[in-house]
């Protein structure tokens, strides 16, 4: 099962993501913002990163850019959690190297279906 890094400044959403993924048998590491995520990503490589876009200190887009700069994360799937209206953000995310996105609001099922697409 995969090791997943979940990044979101909202504790409730992070809990939900983390709980859902753990129930599905994955190992989950949580971070509350980009800076924390980057630190965790460096110390323990993840198979998949799921990150919010709007966060204090370092946002999701910058996090993607930083992660893609690390050799271990060159091809690692990185999914952004966005809201339905932020088409521009999706493109910005893609340009930074994000693999895909998951549109908020989502339910646990949608989350699991989506990560199946990147964990093969």
């Amino acid at each position: 099962m995969a090791k997943i890094l979940a990044v979101d400044d909202s504790a409730s959403l992070r809990q939900m993501v983390s709980f859902t993924l753990k129930e599905a048998g994955h190992e989950v590491v949580e971070a509350a913002d980009g800076v924390e995520a980057l630190e965790l990503a460096r110390s323990a490589p993840a198979d998949l990163v799921i990150s919010d876009v709007n966060m204090p200190r370092m946002d999701g887009i910058s996090l993607v850019r930083e992660l893609r700069g690390l050799p271990e994360y060159k091809f690692t799937p990185i999914l952004l959690l966005t809201t339905e209206t932020s088409d521009a953000k999706k493109q910005e995310g893609k340009a930074a190297g994000a693999t895909g996105w998951l549109v908020k609001p989502f339910d646990p099922e949608a989350l699991l279906t989506t990560i199946k697409r990147v964990l093969g």
Binding site: D9, S10, A11, S12, L13, Q15, M16, F19, T20, E23, A24, D52, N54, M55, P56, R68, K74, F75, T76, P77, I78, L81, T83, E84, T85, Q91, K94, G97, A98, T99, G100, W101, K104, P105, F106, D107, P108, E109, L112, R117, V118, G120
Partner: protein, 680 residues
């Protein structure tokens, strides 16, 4: 797999209420209107709104998310500099914060909601957004998750030519093919003609192309979804090959519209439920803020301090253990000295640990203060007054339990000050004062107390009117009352001097309830007022409710504890220092000041072992009102005592504020200095 999201709802609500409080406090800061330096503040507000919107739908509060969407859009435009944050926009955003809070509270408590107010605010936001040139209309985005019925069998031909950079975003053609395979039977044909010679091949580039044929009950949208993330990184051609090109995607869009309309219909929760008044909503909003009594946020430093102290405790314990292992015959003066040192260290550790543990319950009074700017702003504008609020000592820490109970009385005092104290701007100008009144709220440590002052520079209390009202209500008024006694009358149950009951203060809660609330947390309320210059109300609260620094004193066979903070000095009186004054009993001449002498053996009807005044000790104590010299047999020691309630375990005894258990297991009573000083 079914996962119940309701278990995260509590966390979502807490987080959202926090976010709303943050939005509110940032919006209330006047700096926010200064476009040259408000960037970070607006970002903070935006993020809070964004978080609520993003999570709301996930946790089953779609209507909250939808409402917040407009707020977020407005904030986004301000953030990106497309429009300035005007005073109007600020007022509207504050209103929106209230609406979101109302919606969350109603959803949580399953209580009715003022849908009209919500609709009004929503329209106001839409109007503000639409008033801008260009850009997308503000209509709230509806969730349009496609749930069209599965179409009949269909066949699709897909030509998928990824760009070489496909891998750079972590995408993988193999996974896309896998996704398609789940939709039906997939025939895959790979075109490797673009593959270069091995020497020229870049391993991180994608050179392959595919032609796929999918057979199954899939819509075009479903097929496109497989390529959603790589649309801009590939050339894609999707054609239906089993039937004349029927435009299925158009159908599914229509279906999506229909479903979103359905969604919209059931959005405003409990539409026709009883319409609660604004006051009711306010009350619930206030109640909500108190509802989090179950948990406490503690600064990490405080926790670290606890960990450190426990570490030191372990060291002291190890040190004592080493000494205890010494054989009895070898135990000498050196060991005894070390044992004493060890015990002294242990005592220090215990005391520090005790303080630190109590400190965990201490939170800054800002918890209550932070709500005041909003209150003052709203009240002042409702009453047509101008008020400058000055807050001081926001970092003063108080027990969490006390702070929570302080919110109501303080709110009421602020309401009173603005409603009855501060005059309208014209009246102020006529009285030679600045148009805007100043309301100052200050918290500070003062000895063993926390003092909270609410002072205004308004008209002050009116002695004649209070006395007339008291007579009219048939209240007990002392003869020739001092100003202070007159002011205290307003705290008498059933007293109200407002000429008309206003919407603001006249809610059936008077100063009597305020005083009761304060006394319930062992505090005292003092009132000072100068006509024409203003009123100052002072709340005095004990620092902590659980532990007290005390001096133990002996009277006969009984031990009493005198709170250390009340003690001014202790002395052995000489016979010529004590006088008997008719009507006042005995007094002690203290360097020319005459202080009432209170003999504890008389008060508590105990036999004293001291026959002569010179044999005993006088402990001079001070309360807020008065001083007294307590006559006791002997001073014993100074220690920290844990306060146990006498009322809970026995009953209320005049002159005694509580009890404690001494090191030897005896019960000692703690003296109520205020009451003892008033006995004379």
């Amino acid at each position: 797999m079914g996962i119940d999201v309701s278990q995260f709802v509590q966390a979502f609500l807490e987080e959202s209420f926090e976010g709303l409080d943050l939005m509110e406090s940032e919006l209330l800061d006047d700096e926010i209107l200064d476009s040259s330096c408000n960037g970070e503040r607006i970002n903070t507000i935006f993020r809070a709104a964004h978080s609520i919107k993003g999570s709301a739908g996930t946790f089953g509060f779609g209507f909250v998310g939808e409402f917040t969407h407009g707020v977020e859009t407005l904030l986004d435009r301000i953030r990106s500099g497309q429009r300035p944050l005007t005073e109007d926009a600020r007022a509207l955003l504050l209103e929106a914060v209230d609406r979101i809070r109302d919606m969350l509270i109603a959803a949580r408590d399953k209580s009715p909601l003022d849908n009209e107010a919500i609709e009004r605010t929503r329209k106001a936001i839409d109007a503000m957004l639409e008033s801008e040139p260009g850009d997308a209309p503000a209509a709230a985005a509806r969730e349009s998750r496609e749930k069209s019925a599965a179409p009949a069998e269909s066949r699709w031909r897909i030509r998928f030519s990824p760009h070489r950079s496909l891998f750079a975003t972590g995408n993988d053609p193999l996974r896309i093919l896998g996704f398609l395979r789940d939709l039906g039977t997939l025939a895959i044909e790979c075109d490797d003609s673009a593959l270069p010679k091995l020497a020229e091949l870049e391993p991180e580039s994608c050179y392959l192309r595919w032609t796929l044929e999918l057979e199954g009950p899939a819509t075009e949208a479903q097929v496109r979804e497989a390529f959603e993330w790589v649309e801009d990184q590939c050339d894609l051609e999707i054609t239906r090959i089993d039937a004349p090109a029927a435009d299925t995607s158009r159908d599914s869009e229509a279906a999506a519209d229909a479903s979103s309309l359905e969604g919209a219909a059931d959005e405003p929760a409990s539409t026709d439920a009883a319409r609660a008044g604004r006051a009711d909503q306010d009350r619930r909003r206030a109640a909500d803020r108190r509802n989090d009594a179950g948990s406490i946020r503690v600064a990490v430093e405080k926790i670290d301090q606890l960990v450190n102290l426990v570490g030191e405790l372990v060291i002291s314990q190890a040190m004592l253990e080493t000494i205890a292992r010494t054989d009895f015959e070898d135990f000498d003066a050196v060991h005894l000295e070390r044992l004493r040192q060890g015990l002294a260290q242990l005592e220090r550790n215990t005391r520090e640990l005790q303080e630190a543990v109590l400190g965990v319950r201490m939170i800054p009074i800002n918890f209550v203060f932070s709500r005041l700017p909003r209150l003052v702003r709203d009240l002042a504008s409702t009453l047509g007054k101008e008020v400058n609020l000055v807050l001081e000592g926001e970092d003063t820490e108080l027990d969490k339990g006390v702070i929570e109970k302080l919110a109501d009385p303080l709110t009421h005092m602020v309401r009173n000050a603005i409603d009855h104290g501060i005059e309208k701007p014209d009246a102020r100008v006529r009285a030679g004062k600045p148009r805007a009144g100043t309301l100052k709220i200050r918290a500070a440590h003062q000895g063993g107390n926390i003092v909270i002052e609410v002072s205004d520079d308004g008209a002050g209390l009116n002695r004649e009117r209070i006395l007339a009202k008291a007579a009219e209500r048939g209240l007990n008024v002392p003869e020739n009352p001092s100003d202070r006694e007159v002011w205290q009358l307003i705290c008498t149950p059933g007293f109200s001097t407002a000429e008309k009951i206003t919407d603001i203060s006249g809610r059936g809660v008077g100063m009597d309830v305020v005083r009761q609330n304060i006394e319930a947390i062992k505090g005292r309320l003092e009132i000072d007022s100068t006509p024409g210059h203003g009123t100052r109300m002072t709340i005095r609260l004990p620092l902590t409710l659980a532990i007290l620094d005390g001096m133990s004193v002996r009277v006969g066979d009984e031990i009493f504890i005198v709170p250390l903070t009340a003690i001014l000095e202790s002395l052995q009186p000489k016979a010529d220092q004590v006088y008997t004054i008719s009507g006042r009993g005995r007094v002690l001449n203290l360097r020319g000041d005459y202080v009432p002498l209170v003999s504890l053996s008389d008060v508590f009807h105990l036999p004293s072992s001291r026959e002569q005044i010179e044999d005993g000790i006088c402990v001079v104590v001070e309360s807020a009102e008065d001083r007294a010299a307590l006559f006791v047999d002997e001073l014993i020691a100074q220690h920290q005592v844990v306060i146990k309630s006498l009322e809970t375990n026995y009953r209320r005894v005049p002159g005694i504020s509580g009890a404690t258990i001494l090191g030897d297991g005896r019960v000692a009573l703690i003296l109520d200095v205020d009451m003892l000083t008033q006995m004379h």
